[in-house]
């Protein structure tokens, strides 16, 4: 048996080598991708199978992942790459699905004003479209065994990793005995994503739901936390939401010597045009670069060996991947921002016409 399967392995390897030789400079994989993009052994992709509205500006995108999808731990996020106006943009969204027989996965996206990708996913994405995926990542997950008592604090779309956790916990044959309190903060009641499902979980006695609506209850005052959740000090705490809330919560927990697990969403900071910044290289070198000098020139002046070519933005001989940071195209002022984790392998920039517009990290 073993010998036969080894033989089969060799045979399929040989067939593949033959097909590659017949197709060079393409490979078998590239040709097959054209016919079966979700097959195994290729870059992970997914096909949108449904876009379900949750609120006026939030939707759940149900995706059929490629064969190589390895699954996720509830609370983890998914990197999604989608071509918008011809440009591939990557973003991270928490996985929100519970166990599903069809093996589909889902993310729930809230359209933020000026958010190119979130606006596109909520309002323009359609079933049938292909998206690029990375395997699930992130360590915002519940510990095992489960703590006896848990507090979850979520605001706005911060509910997304938590709904994924809850759906998985309470779809089990035997519901866990953990006492879960969820403090769910939203600006208004209609803004609240998953409110019906959360209320149903509370009605079934699975969780204690504390809903806070800013328009009804005023802005959340952390001084009231202890009155909202009397045994807060004894609960393992998890929080997800905008930076302002998370910063305040972390401070609150620090002051009391308690620990808090948080999940942060994207915060894109672009330095003012022309300000410049530092450029860090893979070997640890960090240089200062002003906002008017091409990174190529600044790096060379600092003694960094750089690939270079025409030095006028034509030949692409100087292109390097930027893992993180912001650069400004000196020809038209256009800013390119890379947030870590949102562009696997980084975004390739032309160093000869790009100036730093913040602190950058180049993979070189």
């Amino acid at each position: 048996m073993l010998a036969r399967s080894a033989q089969r392995g060799t045979l399929s390897r040989r067939l593949r080598a033959l097909a590659d030789a017949a197709l060079t400079p393409l490979s078998v994989d590239e040709v097959l991708d054209g016919f079966h993009p979700l097959r195994s052994g290729t870059d992970l992709k997914g096909k949108i199978v449904a876009v379900e509205a949750e609120t006026a500006d939030a939707a759940t995108i149900v995706i059929k992942p490629g064969r190589d999808w390895t699954g996720h731990a509830p609370g983890q996020y998914l990197q999604v790459g989608i071509d918008i106006d011809g440009v591939r943009l990557w973003r991270c969204y928490s996985l929100t699905h519970g166990p599903r027989r069809d093996g589909h996965i889902s993310i729930t996206v809230k359209a933020i004003p000026d958010g190119i990708v979130s606006q596109h996913l909520v309002h323009k994405a359609r079933a049938g479209q292909l998206v690029h995926l990375q395997q699930a990542a992130g360590d915002f997950t519940l510990p095992l065994p489960l703590p006896e008592k848990i507090l979850m604090v979520t605001a706005g779309s911060g509910i997304t990793p938590v709904i994924g956790m809850l759906r998985n916990l309470f779809s089990k044959a035997v519901a866990p005995t953990t006492a879960i309190t969820l403090l769910h903060v939203n600006q208004t009641e209609p803004d609240s994503i998953f409110k019906d499902e959360l209320r149903a979980l509370a009605a079934a006695g699975h969780i204690t739901l504390v809903e806070h609506f800013d328009d009804r209850d005023g802005l959340l005052d952390l001084a009231r936390l202890e009155s909202l959740v009397p045994d807060i000090g004894t609960r393992a705490a998890f929080a997800c939401g905008p930076s302002g809330l998370l910063d305040a919560l972390e401070q609150w927990y620090d002051e009391r010597g308690l620990s808090l697990d948080t999940e942060r969403f994207r915060t894109a900071l672009v330095a003012d045009a022309g300000v410049g910044g530092t450029v860090a290289f893979a070997n640890g070198t960090v240089i200062d670069a002003d906002g008017a000098t091409p990174i190529l020139d600044a790096a060379e002046a600092a003694g960094v060996l750089m690939p270079s070519g025409c030095r006028m933005g034509i030949c692409m001989g100087c292109v390097l991947p930027m893992k993180e940071g912001a650069v400004r195209d000196l020809r038209n002022g256009e800013i390119t921002v890379v947030v870590p984790g949102e562009a696997p392998g980084g975004v390739k920039i032309q160093t000869c016409i790009s100036a730093a517009a913040g602190d950058c990290h180049l993979d070189h």
Partner: protein, 411 residues
């Protein structure tokens, strides 16, 4: 052709430095307009062309599996030739220019693309994008001017060796992909260097070229003929693949000749580009390139190098946009009294060949020759060819002076 600065009538003498900078500003504005509107439509275009190319190639190769049958042989050969041309021109050339890098698709990116050509894309990018596009038509800097084996400008000194250049231009055309590989390797220069003194870079590059040649040859001349063996089509498939490679080579060579070699395209002296401004660089590209007029199919099959002028002005703009910016570019030429060089393909090809033939002889020889004086002229040519270096130089000068006195110089 003579470098513009040495010409009796300098075609740019009427332009003030302010004019030149104004031209630059206006071309920048045209470029920016395209960048601002670049998007989904363009991305869909290149994906469609890539897909078409792949289906055409796969389909043609499938048909060639039965190439023992003449209709299959003809259809397959035509299809494969077209597929190879598409791969090299509208797809490969333009992706390797970084025209599609803005899509951030790692599969369609100048740093990852490989093409159906014996030159590895990395080496071609260096010699083509960096040297040719930066130093376009600068004598002594842009090796595309004659590829180091041909005399394409009056200012290049004549040598009897050049009398055979029409012959090897034709041979180069047939095996153009190998010519490019040798050229990218600077093979001539490196072979003259003693083996132990050749650079590590050259050794690594030659290895890469040999590996690429082996892969390409294995595909076209071993694997596919063998796959065709069951229908008895080994030899027909081999012949079809060979033909497709030759057709691709002849076509790409012709298109590229049309870009810079037709009569009337200007060349420049090394010293004229010292401290060149962006406006001056643009102007050099405007005068150093020639377009081919024709149908949409011709534009696509030429990789839009039929819009060579627009391509040289904006080498990193998506090729599907050149046709759109061409009228705006032409308006600038007209406004500033510059010659927008464009003509149908047969005319441009003939013009380039005329130039190669004319320059294979000493300056002025062809112009001073007619049927009556042919015997004397041949004797003179023989004498020049066999003379020692110094007397040859004197004879060449005399001939040139005679041509200038007696005849109106060729356009």
């Amino acid at each position: 052709m003579t470098a513009v600065t040495k010409k009796p009538v300098n075609p740019i003498a009427h332009l003030s430095p302010e004019d030149i900078e104004e031209i630059g500003t206006r071309l920048d504005a045209i470029r920016q307009e395209v960048l601002d509107s670049r998007g989904e439509r363009d991305a869909a275009y290149i994906r469609r062309v890539i897909k078409t190319q792949r289906y055409l190639e796969l389909g043609s190769r499938a048909v060639l599996l039965g190439s023992i049958f003449p209709p299959a042989f003809i259809a397959g050969t035509v299809g494969l030739s077209a597929a190879k041309i598409l791969d090299n021109m509208e797809v490969g050339h333009n992706i390797l220019h970084g025209q599609w890098d803005w899509m951030r698709d790692p599969k369609i990116h100048s740093s990852t693309w490989e093409w159906d050509n014996v030159t590895p894309s990395d080496q071609w990018k260096h010699s083509h994008n960096e040297l040719h596009h930066t130093y376009t038509n600068v004598i002594g800097k842009d090796n595309d001017l004659g590829y180091g084996i041909m005399r394409v400008d009056e200012d290049q000194p004549w040598h009897p060796f050049f009398m055979f250049q029409p012959v090897w231009n034709f041979i180069n055309a047939c095996f153009f992909e190998y010519g490019i590989a040798a050229y990218d390797l600077e093979l001539g220069k490196n072979l003259k260097t003693p083996k132990e003194k050749r650079s590590e870079e050259f050794k690594a590059n030659s290895k890469a070229v040999l590996a690429k040649i082996r892969k390409q040859a294995t595909k076209d001349y071993v694997v596919h003929p063998l796959l065709s063996l069951p229908t008895g089509s080994f030899l027909p498939t081999l012949a079809a693949n060979f033909t497709a490679n030759i057709v691709r080579n002849l076509w790409t060579h012709s298109v590229i000749m049309c870009g810079h070699f037709p009569e009337g395209v200007e060349t420049f002296e090394k010293k004229s580009i010292e401290g060149e401004t962006r406006g001056e660089w643009y102007l050099r590209q405007m005068l150093g390139s020639a377009n081919i007029s024709g149908s949409k199919a011709l534009h696509i099959m030429s990789g839009n190098l039929s819009h060579q002028i627009e391509h040289h002005l904006f080498p990193d703009l998506p090729s599907n946009r050149y046709a759109e910016v061409a009228p705006k570019v032409r308006a600038i030429f007209d406004e500033y009294g510059l010659n927008y060089h464009t003509a149908p393909m047969p005319k441009q090809v003939a013009s380039a060949w005329h130039r190669f033939v004319r320059l294979s002889f000493p300056n002025g020889w062809l112009a001073t020759t007619n049927t009556k004086n042919l015997p004397q002229q041949l004797v003179a040519l023989y004498k020049i060819s066999t003379a020692d270096k110094r007397s040859r130089r004197v004879m060449l000068k005399l001939l040139e002076r005679k041509a200038k006195q007696e005849y109106v110089p060729a356009a």
